[in-house]
C-alpha cells in the first residue's frame, strides 16, 4: 500500500523537531549516556531549560528545596522526562492535534503516548537485557504519531470500523484504517518519523507496534515491549478514542518478554502512578478520577 498523495503533502508540511529533541533522543539511545550529557543539551536550549526547571519545582514532584541548576534538575527528573518535555515542546502541534477521526479530544494522543512510554520502559525490564528500557520509552512516546494525520483522513469511518469489530467482522482497527483510507496510522507514522530523520529502532517501533513479529529481528524485543506498553495504556483506559483495545495482542510476546501476571500488575500500578505525577507536573493538578 502506498500513502495517498494528500496525506503525503500533510506529512511534508510537518515542522521539523528541535535540535535538542533530536540530540536527546540519540544520546538516550546510547545505554552508557550520562546525566551530564543530557544536562548539556538542556542548557543549550533556553526554552527547554525553563520547562525542565518548572516541572522539577512543581508541587507534583514534592521537593522541599527549590532546584535552580539544570544538572540537579535532570538528576531528579531523569532523562526520560526531559526527552518527553523536549518532544512535547517542539511537536505539540502533532501531539495535541485534535483526534476527531478517532472520536477523541485534543491532548489524548499525548497522554496515550506518555503512558505507553512509561509502561513500555517498565516492560522492557523483563526482556532479559535484550532491549534498552530508555529506548522503549522514547519508542512509546512516538509510536502513534501517525494518528495526528490519520485522524483527518478517517472522516466518519471510525464508527463503521468499531461496528465491524464489535460484530467480529474485522480483526483490528489497523485493517479498518487500511480499508477506509488506503493506509494506516503505523505507515503514516513511519513516514513522519522519516521526515523527522529518526533512527531505525524508532522507525521499526512506529511501523510494527501492532505487528511486532514483522519487525526486523534486531529490534523485535524493543517492538514487542512497546506493543505490550500500548496494551497496558489502553487497558488503563488511556487510549486515543474509538480504536482503544481494538487491536490483537501478539501471543508470541512470551518469547521476548518474560513477565508474570503478578509482575504485570505491579507494572500497571507503578506506571499509573508515574503517569499521574508527570501529567500533574506538566499541566498542573487534574481532577482525580474515581
Amino acid at each position: 500500500m502506498a500513502i495517498p498523495p494528500d496525506i503525503k503533502d500533510s506529512i511534508a508540511k510537518i515542522k521539523p523537531l528541535s535540535q535538542s529533541a533530536v540530540r536527546l533522543m540519540s544520546v538516550m539511545a546510547d545505554p552508557d549516556h550520562t546525566v551530564g550529557q543530557i544536562a548539556a543539551i538542556v542548557e543549550s536550549d533556553p526554552i527547554l531549560t525553563g520547562n525542565v526547571l518548572r516541572v522539577v519545582n512543581s508541587p507534583a514532584f514534592g521537593l522541599r528545596a527549590k532546584i535552580s541548576t539544570v544538572s540537579r534538575a535532570v538528576s531528579y527528573t531523569g532523562g526520560n522526562m526531559v526527552v518527553g518535555l523536549a518532544l512535547h515542546l517542539c511537536a505539540s502541534g502533532i501531539f495535541n492535534h485534535p483526534l476527531e477521526g478517532y472520536e477523541s479530544q485534543r491532548g489524548a494522543l499525548w497522554r496515550h503516548c506518555l503512558l505507553t512510554a512509561i509502561a513500555s520502559r517498565e516492560i522492557a525490564r523483563f526482556s532479559s537485557g535484550k532491549t534498552d528500557p530508555e529506548v522503549a520509552y522514547t519508542g512509546g512516546l512516538l509510536h502513534d504519531v501517525g494518528k495526528a494525520i490519520m485522524s483527518g483522513s478517517l472522516g466518519n469511518s471510525a464508527r463503521e470500523i468499531v461496528a465491524a469489530a464489535d460484530a467480529e467482522k474485522t480483526t483490528d482497527f489497523v485493517a479498518g484504517e487500511l480499508a477506509a483510507v488506503g493506509t494506516d496510522h503505523t505507515e503514516v507514522g513511519q513516514a513522519i518519523a522519516k521526515h523527522w530523520s529518526l533512527p531505525d529502532p524508532l522507525l521499526e517501533v512506529i511501523r510494527y507496534h501492532h505487528a511486532p513479529s514483522k519487525a526486523h529481528e534486531k529490534y523485535r524485543p524493543l517492538v514487542y515491549a512497546v506493543h505490550l506498553g500500548d496494551f497496558i495504556a489502553m487497558m488503563g483506559g488511556t487510549g486515543t478514542g474509538a480504536d482503544t483495545l481494538l487491536y490483537n495482542l501478539d501471543h508470541d510476546y512470551k518469547k521476548f518478554i518474560n513477565v508474570s501476571a503478578g509482575e504485570l500488575e505491579k507494572v500497571i500500578l507503578d506506571s499509573g502512578q508515574e503517569y499521574q505525577q508527570v501529567v500533574e507536573s506538566m499541566f498542573g493538578s487534574e481532577e482525580e478520577q474515581q
Binding site: E103, M235, T238, G239, T244, L245, L264, Q289
Partner: protein, 152 residues
C-alpha cells in the same frame, strides 16, 4: 470511589479499560455509590490498598459499604442492588494480560462474601466504557467512543 444521596447528583467514572466499575444502590436510603477497581488482589501491594482500597477488588467492596454506611445505609450489603461494568478483556492464552476478566471474577468473589451478587452487568469485550449513575433515577448510563450510548 464516591457515594451520594443528594437529589440531582450523579457519579461518573471515565474510560474504564480493563478496570471494573462497581455500583451499589440502596433502595431504602436512595444512596448510590461507585468505585473504580483497577486490579483483583490487594496482596500485590498492601501498603497502597490502605491508602486506596478502591483500587483492588477485595478491599473495594468493604470500603464502598463503609462509604454508604456514612450516608445512612446499613453497611452489611443486605438489600443492595449491585451492578458491574467494564472489565474489557484482552485475549491472552498465557493468562497474563486478561486482567479485565480477573477483575470481574475477583469482584464477584468479594461480593459473594457479603451475600451479594450483580443484578445487572455489562462486562468484557474489547470496549473501554465510561459510566455514570444518578441519584434520581438510579439508572446507569454507559458510553464508549465510536458507539451509541446504552443503559443498564
Amino acid at each position: 470511589m464516591g457515594a451520594t444521596r443528594t437529589p440531582g447528583q450523579e457519579l461518573r467514572t471515565l474510560a474504564l479499560g480493563s478496570c471494573v466499575a462497581l455500583i451499589m444502590l440502596d433502595p431504602k436510603t436512595r444512596c448510590i455509590a461507585m468505585v473504580h477497581v483497577v486490579l483483583p488482589e490487594s496482596s500485590i501491594d498492601p501498603a497502597r490498598s490502605l491508602k486506596k482500597p478502591g483500587h483492588f477488588a477485595d478491599t473495594a467492596v468493604p470500603a464502598l459499604l463503609e462509604e454508604m454506611k456514612k450516608l445512612g445505609s446499613e453497611g452489611t450489603g443486605k438489600g443492595m442492588i449491585v451492578k458491574l461494568m467494564g472489565g474489557a478483556n484482552v485475549m491472552d492464552p498465557n493468562n497474563t494480560f486478561n486482567i479485565g476478566k480477573r477483575n470481574a471474577l475477583a469482584l464477584k468473589k468479594a461480593l459473594w462474601k457479603y451475600g451479594m451478587g450483580p443484578r445487572a452487568e455489562d462486562l468484557g469485550g474489547r470496549i473501554s466504557r465510561s459510566v455514570s449513575v444518578d441519584v434520581d433515577s438510579g439508572k446507569v448510563k454507559i458510553t464508549s467512543p465510536g458507539r451509541d450510548g446504552w443503559e443498564l
